[in-house]
């Protein structure tokens, strides 16, 4: 196992370089002037004669590909990601300001994915072909056919349009005043729910939660529908295995057979898929945040894309790709740790 981990770690920089290379390839599909736009924040700069040429030279935007790539990479390493037109601030700041919101959303969304997806998947397999199983299966299939944005619109429509329970946005205006302007409120983590608890402010905690529920439902939904089917099929496979029969032949009670002997084996492949799914959930963030006006990274990126703010979009892609590569590494390593057959190789 050790050699496996070492190999993965050695590959890490290779893959990261590949990722940055790919992004740069896409970036260089744009003309130098268009790419220049990502570094300038005052359009009046270009009125100065020869300003464009000098700046293009400064940022190496007309250089041959390898040089251009290396320079770009150097800038990235120094966190100089350019200027975001849509956010009217450096991309670096735009990201760091919006990151906590998205992080909070994603972290909470993991819970229903695992609970509903895996737990229901196990139940569905155990009650194979029952009414319960059929219902769950049909729900999952229909769920898999309902695109997340339509689902999200439905949620918005029902829970806000009709019922008025779950408003869009991240906080109500009165809560926003306190969190962002009051000196009594200390933002330790920038995760509003946690900060609210740390500040002992229950109303804000509840308000934040209330705004999170609908986005969480929307974001997690695609993932748990998929995870449910995988868990169910893995569990069904495992329940047919010989060692399950062995356990039963020893007189082990059914609960232990299912939840210890079978589940532990069935969940190994599921866990790795779950990890990958959660990482992919990051992609769905854009849709969810747009639908619910949730001011996170996804909202900003989608807006930036509509307005052709290349710098922001490219930076966002870079960030997410990096997170995914790291996430995959963690998933692969944990797989090696969980499965004794790999661990003790």
């Amino acid at each position: 196992m050790l050699s496996y981990i070492i190999r993965r770690l050695l590959l890490l920089p290779v893959i990261l370089i590949g990722v940055t290379l790919l992004i740069y390839c896409v970036f260089s599909l744009l003309s130098p002037i268009e790419r220049l736009a990502t570094y300038i924040h005052d359009p009046n700069t270009l009125i100065i004669p020869k300003a464009a040429e000098r700046l293009i030279a400064k940022y190496h935007l007309s250089d041959p590909f390898p040089l251009g790539y290396i320079n770009w990479l150097k800038r990235i390493a120094h966190f100089d990601l350019g200027w975001s037109r849509t956010a009217n601030q450096p991309v670096k700041d735009a990201i760091s300001q919006r990151f906590p919101a998205t992080l909070e959303l994603v972290l909470y969304s993991i819970i229903p994915v695992i609970l509903v997806g895996i737990w229901l998947g196990v139940i569905s397999a155990v009650h194979h072909n029952d009414m319960l199983d059929q219902t769950i299966r049909v729900t999952a299939i229909i769920g898999g056919s309902l695109p997340s944005f339509i689902f999200g619109l439905l949620v918005l429509f029902i829970f806000y349009g009709i019922l008025g329970w779950l408003p869009p946005g991240r906080l109500s205006s009165w809560a926003q005043d306190i969190v962002y302007t009051s000196s009594n409120f200390h933002s330790y983590t920038h995760l509003i729910t946690i900060d609210a608890l740390l500040n002992g402010n229950l109303p804000i905690f509840l308000d934040a939660l209330r705004h999170l529920i609908a986005p969480i439902i929307t974001l997690s939904y695609i993932s748990w529908a998929f995870l449910l089917r995988i868990t169910r099929s893995s569990m069904l496979d495992t329940l047919r295995k010989d060692y399950v029969k062995t356990a039963r032949s020893k007189g082990v009670d059914e609960y232990t057979v299912i939840h210890l002997h079978a589940q532990r084996n069935a969940l190994i492949p599921v866990m790795t898929v779950a990890g990958t799914m959660i990482i992919h959930m990051l992609g769905g963030v854009m849709i969810t945040e747009i639908i619910f006006d949730y001011p996170g990274l996804g909202f900003w990126t989608a807006t930036a894309a509509q307005q052709l703010d290349y710098g922001s979009v490219i930076s966002f892609a870079l960030l997410f790709a990096t997170l995914m590569v790291l996430g995959n590494l963690i998933v692969d390593v944990s797989y090696a740790l969980i499965d004794p057959r790999v661990r003790l190789e």
Partner: protein, 311 residues
């Protein structure tokens, strides 16, 4: 093959899927008859009015638009918005009908091309092995590091709006699954005893690949492909929804839903007033994808025991 077809037809869920699919195919084929186009660009949704607000189903074509068509000499085959209009007066019904053609175009083209790319790369990787395999697989990993939607979005932002750009984006970031699938399939089949038996009989490598390895493995990949058609359409729709896919007014279901975000809540006191802007395109998307999913689900079940025993 026949057995598979028979099983597909006998299973209730896949039968529903097949029926739905047939309906959609019919709509797509007869689109010019069902919703006669009013301009040379068939995919440009005609506008029933200049109104920003969506109009409810049954609204008639506004006078000034009718005048324009009369002036141009275009014959107006129907003049009511049967399913209502979206923001800007775009006729929803037209968009639904021609959107079916768009959906099939997107689904089939993207899957076919990405499948071909995947098969080529996967086969090369599996056949040559060693460092060719290593490099190609690392490249695949790199492409896989991008969440599909994000990657497609970046590409369409840079390339511009348009259906072809959307398809390019979907293809560029969609081939990896097939590559891995065929590589894995070839690698495991390579070790199968019947291949070794052929080798022991002196059959040369090329023949082995063509006659024995490829047929089995390609079938698997094709099944995976057909199951992916639905998700391709969804992703394309998501891109349009985010405003980076098909241009405004194009007959694409996702594009039609993108308007709906602003109108879904309706005006105060009239929640759901503009339900038709979301419901109609939404239903079409869901049913289309459901059809492919139902068929795909059954195909997967059929394949399972086959993989176990007989293949």
């Amino acid at each position: 093959m026949n057995r598979i077809l028979r099983k597909l037809f006998s299973n209730a869920t896949s039968l529903i899927g097949i029926i739905l699919l047939i309906i959609f195919v019919t709509i797509a084929i007869f689109a010019p008859v069902i919703a006669p186009p009013l301009s040379e660009d068939y995919y440009q949704i005609p506008r029933m009015s200049w109104d920003i607000n969506p109009q409810p189903p049954g609204s008639p074509m506004s006078g000034d638009i009718r005048d324009i068509y009369d002036y141009m000499g275009t014959e107006i085959k129907y003049d009511r918005a049967i399913c209502g209009t979206a923001e800007g007066g775009y006729d929803i019904f037209y968009g639904l009908i021609w959107g079916t053609r768009t959906a099939f175009k997107i689904g089939i083209i993207t899957v076919t091309v990405s499948m071909l790319i995947g098969i080529v790369i996967g086969s090369i990787s599996a056949y040559f092995g060693k460092w060719v395999d290593e490099i190609l697989m690392r490249i695949t990993d790199i492409f896989l590091s991008f969440p599909f939607l994000v990657a497609a979005m970046v590409l369409t932002t840079v390339l511009g709006r348009g259906l072809d750009k959307v398809m390019i984006a979907l293809i560029v970031f969609g081939w990896m699954g097939y590559a891995r699938l065929i590589r894995g399939s070839i690698l495991s089949t390579k070790e199968e005893t019947y291949i070794m038996a052929a080798k022991a009989l002196g059959v040369n490598d090329g023949k082995i690949i063509l006659k024995h390895l490829l047929p089995n493995t390609i079938f698997l990949v094709m099944v995976q492909g057909s199951m992916n058609i639905g998700s391709m359409v969804i992703t394309a729709a998501a891109l349009s929804f985010l405003g980076v896919g098909a241009p405004v007014g194009y007959a694409d279901w996702g594009q039609m839903v993108s308007f709906a975000r602003n109108w879904i809540i309706g005006s105060p006191g009239h929640a759901g007033q503009y339900w038709y802007t979301v419901l109609y395109p939404g239903i079409f998307i869901v049913l289309f994808v459901l059809a492919w999913n139902l068929i795909g689900d059954t195909l997967r079940d059929i394949l399972d025991p086959r993989l176990r025993g007989e293949l």
